[in-house]
């Protein structure tokens, strides 16, 4: 008992416990609240879980999940490559920055989702419009974070490279790029989540497959339970993507800074 109390006093354990307790409370509230409502408005958690298990277990969910995952990954990859590439160009060449930045600001000012209908007209109901929307949204955080990471290498490091007569390419690859790794990864994380949102919202506009399409279909058939099943699947998908990002990030940081250094950096200690 005393041991348990001591464990609870450590913030990490207490945090975990509170997360679990609050989640249970939320589900219980959901359960009782749902009972006072029609299942068309709010289905109960139990039936949602049953439906989810059946839906996933029977394999009917797979095509939808697979389509959405492909859209996210493709959009993320395209937006990511463009963002990192243009961010690098902008950070290295003043002229590139002057040309790229106005376009970036204008495209950022335009809400990308507003483009979804025209993209559907141009590219049809397939994956293409969703990939484009996801890529457009994923692009900006990576452009910005890459630019930020590359342009904030410490002045002393750059002077060292100059004293060692390093060229632009060497300075970029051996100094700035490695310095930019944490910034780029935090951009990747945001981009990944935005790519998910982009893909799903684009599916709302016109799609026959995908988790977003599933939500629209269940809306049309008043199958609220199925809608909740899609919500759960999207949440799990988002969590998995974020975990995958975290795993890769930790591996890269450990490779760069060693286990101790990586931990200190993660904790915000500059070494």
């Amino acid at each position: 008992m005393r041991r348990l109390l001591r464990a609870l006093r450590s913030e990490a354990w207490l945090g975990r416990l509170l997360v679990i307790v609050s989640a249970v409370v939320l589900i219980v509230v959901w359960h009782f609240w749902a009972r006072t409502n029609s299942p068309l408005i709010l289905p109960e958690p139990g039936p949602v879980l049953e439906r989810l298990l059946d839906y996933v277990g029977s394999g009917r969910a797979n095509p939808h999940i697979w389509i959405t995952v492909q859209e996210i990954i493709l959009g993320f990859a395209l937006g990511g490559i463009a963002g990192i590439g243009l961010g690098t160009l902008a950070s290295e060449f003043g002229i590139a920055r002057r040309v790229i930045m106005p376009y970036v600001i204008v495209t950022q000012a335009l809400p990308k989702f507003a483009l979804a209908p025209i993209l559907v007209i141009w590219f049809g109901f397939g994956m293409t419009p969703k990939v484009i929307i996801a890529a457009l949204i994923a692009f900006f955080p990576l452009l910005e974070n890459t630019y930020l990471g590359l342009t904030t290498a410490p002045a002393e490091m750059l002077e060292l490279f100059r004293a060692l007569r390093a060229g632009r390419w060497t300075t970029l690859t051996k100094c700035k790029a490695l310095h930019a790794v944490p910034a780029v990864f935090s951009g990747l994380r945001v981009a990944l989540m935005l790519a998910l949102v982009g893909a799903v919202v684009a599916e709302y506009v016109g799609a026959n497959k995908g988790l977003g399409a599933l939500i629209i279909v269940s809306q049309g058939t008043l199958d609220t339970e199925l809608m909740f099943v899609a919500f759960v699947q999207l949440t799990v998908l988002g969590l998995l993507l974020d975990q995958a990002h975290g795993l890769v990030y930790r591996l890269v940081m450990r490779r760069l800074y060693g286990s101790v250094g990586a931990e200190m950096r993660a904790a915000g200690v500059s070494v």
Binding site: E156, M157, E159, A163, L164, K174, G258, G261
Partner: protein, 260 residues
């Protein structure tokens, strides 16, 4: 002397000739350095002291080719300096190690940049790391080392290319007094072994006197050469001997008066 040493000593020769450095600012031009004339012989150890903001670091940067003089020139081994010179090793106030590289890889950096990371150069890197007493830390990351050890890595990185000139910009200023003393003793040993010319900027008069053959005293902005002091203390020097020497205190007093 054979030809090789003759050539080597010529390379370590620094001539500063009528050097003036001005910076443009909103309030008009600021003169950081004014008409500096100074000659440094090969293998000489020269200390530069002066009040903060007198342009000590600017002078060192001009010698190292990191910035260009506004008027006048710097010559190394007779060649006018227009860009960073491969014969120069630089040690900055901060160790400036790349935190993602292990100690050995940090010392190999100059070779990687010049495209010569050969086995032979790796052996050189191991040798200088041995010289600065870090043989057991080859695979450590900079973040795992103390400040003094980090600065030793940076000294090793400067020495590994066998420079004929070592430019040091307050290299031990950020270290605690004890570490600094031991670094100074080590530096003199390394200097003796490597036969390089050393230009050492510091704000610590005692440190400058302990290390140097000559000390250049600079005036407050615009930086000028206010005095040049020959330090005729016998070598090899130890702190105990130097501090027991009357001449050390006389010179120290003389510099202190000029700085006030």
């Amino acid at each position: 002397m054979n030809d090789k040493t003759g050539e080597l000593s010529g390379r370590g020769h620094i001539e500063i000739d009528g050097l003036t450095k001005t910076y443009a600012s909103d309030a008009g031009d600021i003169t950081a350095l004014e008409r500096i004339d100074f000659d440094i012989a090969p293998r000489e150890f020269v200390g530069i002291v002066g009040p903060s903001g007198c342009g000590k670091s600017t002078l060192l940067r001009c010698v190292g080719g990191l910035i260009a003089p506004s008027v006048g020139e710097v010559r190394i081994g007779g060649d006018v300096v227009i860009e960073p010179d491969p014969r120069i090793g630089y040690v900055f106030q901060q160790a400036v190690l790349l935190p993602w590289r292990r100690v050995l890889d940090n010392v190999m950096l100059p070779f990687e940049i010049s495209g010569r990371p050969t086995a032979e150069n790796r052996a050189k890197a191991l040798e200088v790391l041995e010289m600065v007493g870090l043989s057991e830390y080859l695979n450590h990351r900079p973040g795992e080392l103390s400040g003094g050890m980090q600065q030793r890595v940076s000294v090793a990185r400067a020495l590994v290319v066998e420079p004929s000139i070592l430019l040091m910009d307050e290299p031990f200023g950020a270290l605690d007094a004890q570490t600094r003393d031991s670094m100074n003793v080590e530096l003199l040993r390394i200097w003796y072994e490597s036969q390089t010319t050393v230009v050492f900027v510091t704000h610590d008069i005692g440190e400058a006197l302990f290390l140097s053959d000559r000390v250049m005293v600079m005036s407050v902005r615009p930086g000028r050469v206010q005095d040049v002091i020959d330090v005729d203390l016998p070598r090899p020097r130890t702190f105990t001997e130097v501090e027991a020497d009357e001449r050390f205190w006389t010179l120290r007093q003389r510099i202190r008066e000029q700085l006030n």
